[in-house]
């Protein structure tokens, strides 16, 4: 098929939405309208349920009545089976939205005696379709006919006619088929139904089962080609095509505190970005959970909701342990701001975890999600699958503006800058906790390995767990490397002793100068007094001198008067 005709078909191809969560996204709208679709898969992988949900949702959500022709289960069994998923078939049948027809064929009751055809099936189907005006038909599992009817030649010819007839009828049909050894279906139904083929798979790896769905082919339409995990739970099918979300989430400039002041300081003094993904990785017992708990507490204090997934500890144990470093989480749980979800990772498959996460997040609508720790998932799972799952979780949380904090346990031998899960590229802020072994001690160090979009500190801080929470201390860079613990304390003592001596020196010098100044001042005062006394003596002498001069002159005048001397005679 050439490319141009392909796109042309795509334009014209009408699709019937299935209403099944996620499926319509993978197939860009649903199943091809008026064409048969083959659903194949092994036993117990959900073929019947897929068909049934297609009909029920069609009848209830899209006003398209449907006929379910069952070749295996009786109507009563079918009704009972799907009732557990919340579908009330009886009511839908009463409302003439769904018709059930159980077609049963018993090989031992049948004797073949010449030419025949399957017109009876056509008539029954046609009757059922016409009786409720059905737009959708499910044939489950038509391959049973092969067991009941001995003449395969007739059967195959008739099946071919049936599928053509369904197309002519214009109903959107689902035909289910058991998976074969080398072929998609045991009887090669894909030969006849080739417009759209969907494969369901139920795999058990390392004791955990995973269901997966793949669109093998879809004529005339683009579709997702991956294997999509899906779940069957009380709400029916749900397929998780979250990887198709793309990188389009809106981002926030808001900063939120990590709950540790010193750590906030390392992150430009403001903390994490809201909606970012934070990873705390480190070896065992370095305090990953403590940092998480701080973050949770800080968020609760702001009045935000926190969803805490713990995969290793029970909530009570975690709360008790956190109490020992002065973080009391219990009040927040009681207030409903903090919710714990504790499950063992091995409890169910990754997809179930993914879905459980989705459900919990959808239900609780948290601002912050903490998963502690993520790499326990690796037990029994392939790394790549875990990565994909986490990518989905991260995508999902980001698109909902939820801040996510993951912790990851790294084993000692591994390179520190590589998490076991290999999700570093998904992470916005990555805090690395490491233990520093020095002089017979094991101490904790922390630094910011990366933090997108901020000028974060490049310093290693010593990380101390106290009874009032986590404290970050400056570490000393000595000749032997980073000094922590008692080495740091010794260094601190040294330094403070040095400081003290220096301080004392300065004070001594100050005192000396003071004393010098004082003696100088005393001298100045003494000189001044000397000078003053000399000065006053001098003034006295001058005064006496002037007095005596005056007296002499007076005497002269008096004498001259007494001698009647000339006025112009010089005095004396």
């Amino acid at each position: 098929m050439s490319r141009s005709s392909n796109t042309l078909l795509n334009k014209n191809l009408q699709k019937s939405p299935t209403g099944i969560q996620g499926f319509d996204e993978i197939t860009c709208g649903g199943l091809p309208t008026g064409r048969p679709t083959l659903i194949c898969g092994g036993a117990g992988c959900g073929k019947t349920l897929f068909g049934m949900e297609f009909l029920v949702r069609g009848a209830t959500q899209f006003n398209e009545p449907g006929v379910f022709v069952s070749f295996e289960e009786t109507n009563e069994e079918l009704t009972q089976n799907v009732a557990s998923l919340g579908f009330d078939l009886d009511q839908l049948i009463r409302q003439k939205k769904i018709a059930l027809d159980h077609v049963h064929i018993e090989r031992s009751e049948i004797e073949e005696t010449g030419e025949y055809d399957l017109e009876g099936l056509f008539i029954r189907l046609g009757y059922a379709i016409d009786s409720i005006g059905a737009k959708r038909v499910v044939l489950d599992t038509i391959e049973s006919l092969f067991a009941g009817l001995p003449n395969q030649l007739i059967l195959r010819a008739e099946l071919r006619r049936l599928f053509r007839w369904l197309k002519v009828k214009g109903v959107t049909a689902i035909i289910t088929g058991e998976r074969g050894e080398a072929t998609l279906t045991r009887q090669g139904l894909e030969e006849y139904v080739s417009d759209c083929v969907i494969m369901l798979d139920h795999r058990v790896t390392e004791q955990t089962s995973t269901r997966r769905l793949r669109v093998v082919k879809y004529r005339g339409s683009i579709h997702g080609t991956n294997e999509y995990p899906f779940l069957i739970d009380e709400n029916g099918f749900s397929i998780l095509p979250v990887t198709s979300l793309g990188l389009k989430h809106s981002i926030s400039n808001e900063r939120i505190s990590s709950g540790i002041i010193a750590l906030d300081k390392m992150l430009e003094g403001k903390g994490y970005y809201r909606g970012s993904t934070i990873l705390i990785s480190g070896t065992a017992g370095v305090g990953k959970t403590s940092i998480s708990a701080h973050f949770a507490e800080a968020a609760c204090k702001r009045g935000e909701r926190v969803l805490y997934f713990c995969f290793e500890e029970s909530p009570n144990q975690l709360m008790r342990n956190m109490l020992s470093i002065g973080i009391d989480l219990k009040p927040w749980v009681e207030k409903g701001l903090l919710q714990f979800q504790a499950t063992r990772p091995t409890f169910y498959g990754l997809e179930m975890h993914l879905s459980a996460t989705h459900k919990a997040v959808n239900g609780f609508k948290p601002h912050i999600v903490i998963m502690d720790p993520i790499n326990t998932f690796i037990i029994g799972e392939k790394e790549i699958e875990v990565k994909i799952m986490l990518m989905r979780i991260v995508d999902y949380l980001k698109s909902n503006q939820i801040t996510a904090l993951f912790t990851s346990l790294t084993s000692g031998e591994n390179s520190f800058e590589q998490t076991d899960v290999g999700i570093s590229s998904l992470i916005d802020t990555w805090l690395l906790l490491r233990d520093i072994e020095l002089s017979g001690e094991r101490n904790r160090g922390m630094y910011v390995l990366k933090s997108r979009g901020m000028a974060h500190s490049n310093q290693i801080r010593e990380f101390i767990l106290t009874d009032h929470g986590v404290e970050l201390q400056e570490v000393y860079i000595g000749a032997n490397g980073v000094l922590t613990g008692s080495a740091r304390i010794a260094q601190e003592a040294n330094e403070s002793a040095e400081m003290l001596t220096r301080k004392q020196d300065i004070e001594r010098i100050k005192r000396d100068i003071d004393r010098k100044r004082k003696s100088l001042e005393a001298q100045i005062i003494a000189l001044q007094t000397n000078f003053e006394s000399e000065e006053s003596e001098a003034i006295k002498m001058i005064e006496t001198e002037q007095d005596s001069i005056k007296r002499l002159e007076q005497d002269k005048i008096e004498m001259a008067e007494s001698r009647k001397a000339d006025d112009d005679s010089p005095a004396i």
Partner: protein, 113 residues
Amino acid sequence: MKEMKEKSKSRTDAATPDTFDNDKWVLRLYVAGQSPKALTAFANLKKICDEQLEGKYSIEVIDLLINPQLGSEYQILALPTLVRKLPVPVRKIIGDLSNTERVLVGLDLLQTN
């Protein structure tokens, strides 16, 4: 063809099978319209019954094109289908009944012979 319709009408006669003794044969032939296969089947059935069960059988012809809702009672898929309602157990024979031997096997008539 008239014969078929007559028999079709006589369906109500055979509606109370319990009153028949064990030797009474109640047969039902399901067809879709008057296709060549249907006509052949009816002719073959009539012939076999006349030969083997003279006087103690009744044939009811059901045209699913006219009464499609009747198809599910005996799980009719293939057409034509002959259903032996009595004597029990119910037996089903599909095809145009051209293979007489197989029809006799299907109706359990070979042993009685």
